[in-house]
């Protein structure tokens, strides 16, 4: 036991003292936000607005076809049709000419067939679809009108059914859409974090094993401690590194959420303030949403989520990093690890991609099985947890994961024991199988 402690301590201190660790820990959250902002910026940058001239011979669309941010409709008199058609090719700032024929005998199909959009450059699929949507909407309105229904009735018809969902299990709390969105978001973030962490830290264990093997330090250590102690110490050391990094990040994000949340209550008191410009209201809206989000976040069963997250992360990480330790011991250098690391990555990938369906149906059979089977449960259970999981499922899943983690450590220790003293050649899968069975 004392030896494991010593090895853990050394592993932890060497890794935490590295400059790269300090920089990454402090900078990663900032980088993440910057990256998200950059992606948003990229999306925005690719957005463009198109302007179309419209010749409406039917007279149905004038006043109904409304411009928005991305598409601008400019109505022109029908006399200009010929001139515009011929000059469209060289026109700058106008992407197309929409020509709608006269409506004869209320034959809308005929109108649709003869409508055309002339363009002078490629328009995006999205742009075309929104033009089509705009036109269909108006045609639909016209058709309904012909049936003899008033405009008010139409508006009334179009009204969405606003379904009020209430979860009777969960304190009769209203399950708003925002709530669901935030839970999905949290679920994604947590799941992705676990996925990334298991791989990143697992590979760290593997590297550390390889380093000792290549340095031949392993021979000296093995003459003082058991291979199992060395492997466990190493895994635990890296675990502590991960936990340190986590606690720093969780503290940072909880502080951020609390900060926004205090803004929430302060604003509620501010509402009966006198005149507010439109700009102020809009700004207020964004802040309102942001604080509502953090409010919902803080309102969730935080202790349970953190508990489950840490338990599953730890167990999953130990499960996979013993696998990585075994891989590191069986090969001679990092390039040779690739075919073996597939074994460690594929189950996690299945868990992660499978979890996307969990977003749609958190209590479906796939979600259930993925979060019970040990290979995928570290990822899938964490994806499910923000939505709430029955206690017995969590317990069962933890139980199975503990058992299989112990089993994995046992198997890995067997491979590790033989592997670390093999120099010069890479073990084949067959050989490794032999070591496990011996």
């Amino acid at each position: 036991m004392k030896n494991i402690f010593l090895i853990t301590k050394r592993e932890y201190l060497t890794q935490v003292k590295k400059k790269s660790f300090v920089i990454l820990t402090l900078l990663a959250p900032v980088l993440m936000i910057a990256f998200a902002a950059f992606i948003t910026f990229l999306f925005k940058a690719n957005e463009s607005s198109s302007t179309f001239n419209v010749i409406d011979k039917s007279g149905l669309f004038v006043g109904n076809l409304k411009s928005d941010q991305s598409i601008k409709y400019v109505f022109v008199p029908r006399e200009n049709e010929k001139a515009l058609t011929s000059t469209l090719k060289d026109m700058d700032g106008i992407e197309g000419l929409l020509i709608i024929p006269e409506l004869k005998d209320n034959n809308f199909d005929e109108l649709e067939k003869n409508s055309k959009l002339l363009i002078n450059k490629k328009i995006g699929f999205e742009t075309k679809m929104s033009v089509v949507a705009d036109l269909s909407r108006i045609i639909k309105q016209e058709k309904i009108k012909k049936l003899g229904i008033s405009e008010d009735q139409i508006i009334n018809l179009d009204k969405n059914f606003d379904l009020n969902t209430q979860n009777v299990v969960d304190n009769n709390k209203a399950d708003s859409d925002l709530d669901f969105g935030i839970k999905s978001g949290l679920s994604m973030v947590l799941m992705y974090a676990v996925f990334m962490f298991i791989i990143i830290y697992g590979v760290r264990v593997m590297r550390s094993v390889l380093e000792e093997k290549n340095n031949r330090v392993v021979e000296i250590i093995i003459s003082s401690v058991k291979p199992f102690e060395l492997m466990m110490g190493k895994i635990l050391g890296v675990t502590l590194v991960a936990l340190t990094q986590f606690s720093i990040w969780i503290t940072m994000s909880v502080l951020g959420a609390i900060f926004l949340n205090t803004g929430f209550s302060a604003m509620q008191k501010q509402i009966p303030g006198g005149e507010q410009s439109a700009e102020m209201i809009e700004k207020f809206d964004i802040q309102q949403t942001a604080s509502e989000v953090s409010h919902i976040l803080l309102d969730m069963n935080y202790p349970l989520i953190i508990f489950v997250f840490i338990i599953f992360f730890l167990l999953g990480y130990i499960f996979y990093s013993s696998m990585y330790a075994a891989i590191g011991s069986a090969v001679d250098n990092e390039t040779e690890t690739q075919q073996f690391t597939l074994f460690a990555i594929i189950p996690l990938m299945i868990g992660m991609y499978g979890s996307f369906t969990i977003m749609n149906n958190p209590e479906g059979p796939l979600g259930f099985w993925l979060s019970i089977i040990p290979f995928t449960s570290p990822v899938a259970m964490i994806a499910r947890i923000p939505f709430g999981v029955p206690g017995w499922q969590i317990a069962l899943s933890i139980f199975l994961l503990v058992i299989s983690t112990l089993l994995m450590i046992y198997i890995a220790a067997k491979v590790y024991r033989v592997g670390i003293l093999m120099y010069g050649n890479k073990a084949s899968a067959k050989e490794i199988w032999k070591w496990i069975r011996s």
């Binding site: 090895i7 060497t14 031949r216 021979e219 250590i221 093995i222 003459s223 003082s224 003293l421």
Partner: protein, 304 residues
């Protein structure tokens, strides 16, 4: 101190024989040389003593006690492939290995101080290993090996990587340890160091022990009654007569000196008498084979 009895070890499920029926007896406070070509089984034997691997059959005893995990703290092992952590400071590293061997931090610290003075390296404590040269790293490795006052020291090629000055420094330290009662197993194929330092030697080839015993006895055993002779002012007629009656090899003249090797299985004094008539005897000594020759002879004998 250490006794191995009929140790056999195979790899790959019995297909590769690493050590076969290997028995040696290492007396207390001696230096025992383990000789053999690469791949003969030396490292396997050392790993068995260190309990890195287990023998298939046979027993190893330390002080008449069957080898067990408690012995590990009494053993200091310096593997041939040296290994230390590259980006860890020398001091941290030494304390770490000391603590792994069960030392307290203070004990490790005071021992380290002693050895750093002995090896004249006190100014390296805070340096990282990657800043040291290979020879410097070897010294650290040596300190790591002896720090916990092992009763049994196993050194695999201890002098590789050292310049002659430092090799001598280490050699003196090893001899010093022996005089203080440490038993030392020296695995090497540097024959000079065997002749200089070892009291006993065992030769391993192809997984088997070829011969063992005191270094002196082993060399005696391989001598071939060849004498090196150097004469001055020779009488050519007498020399011709002498030449016809004895086997002479490696004949050479230099500055009026004549030297040759002489094979003689009879009484040496008779030959000496005859040689006195041939010329003035400058030197006459029996050629005891070097460990190098013993090694080559024994190994090639094994191949036949």
């Amino acid at each position: 101190m250490l006794k191995a009895e009929h140790v056999t070890k195979t790899y790959n499920a019995g297909k590769k024989l690493a050590l076969e029926d290997f028995s040696i007896n290492v007396p207390e406070a001696s230096i025992y040389g383990l000789l053999g070509p690469n791949g003969a089984g030396k490292t396997t034997f050392i790993r068995i003593i260190n309990q890195i691997t287990q023998a298939d059959s046979g027993e190893v005893f330390i002080n008449n006690e069957k080898l067990n995990p408690n012995h590990i703290r009494q053993i200091g092992y310096m593997p041939e492939e040296r290994g230390l952590y590259k980006n860890m400071s020398v001091g941290d590293q030494i304390l770490y290995f000391g603590e792994l061997k069960g030392m307290s931090k203070n004990d490790a610290l005071s021992q380290a101080k002693y050895w750093f003075e002995q090896l004249e390296i006190d100014q390296w404590w805070k340096k990282k290993l990657s800043e040291l040269s290979k020879g410097m790293a070897q010294k650290i490795q040596f300190v790591v090996t002896v720090l916990h006052r092992p009763k049994l020291l196993i050194l695999d090629e201890p002098f590789s990587g050292f310049d002659p000055v430092n090799a001598n420094l280490i050699k003196d330290q090893i001899l010093n340890l022996k005089n203080n009662g440490t038993t030392i197993i020296l695995s090497t194929h540097r024959m000079e160091s065997v002749e200089e330092m070892c009291d006993y030697v065992a030769l391993i080839d192809h997984a088997k022990k070829v011969l063992d015993g005191k270094v002196f006895d082993v060399r005696e055993q391989f001598k071939k009654s060849i004498f090196g002779v150097t004469l001055a002012d020779i009488n050519n007629d007498a020399f011709e007569q002498f030449r016809n009656r004895y086997q002479i090899q490696e004949y050479a003249t230099e500055n009026q000196l004549v030297s040759f090797d002489l094979k003689n299985d009879n009484d040496q004094n008779i030959v000496l008498n005859e040689l006195m008539k041939v010329g003035k005897i400058r030197s006459f000594d029996e050629k005891i084979p070097s460990m190098n020759e013993v090694f080559i002879n024994a190994v090639s004998a094994g191949k036949r």
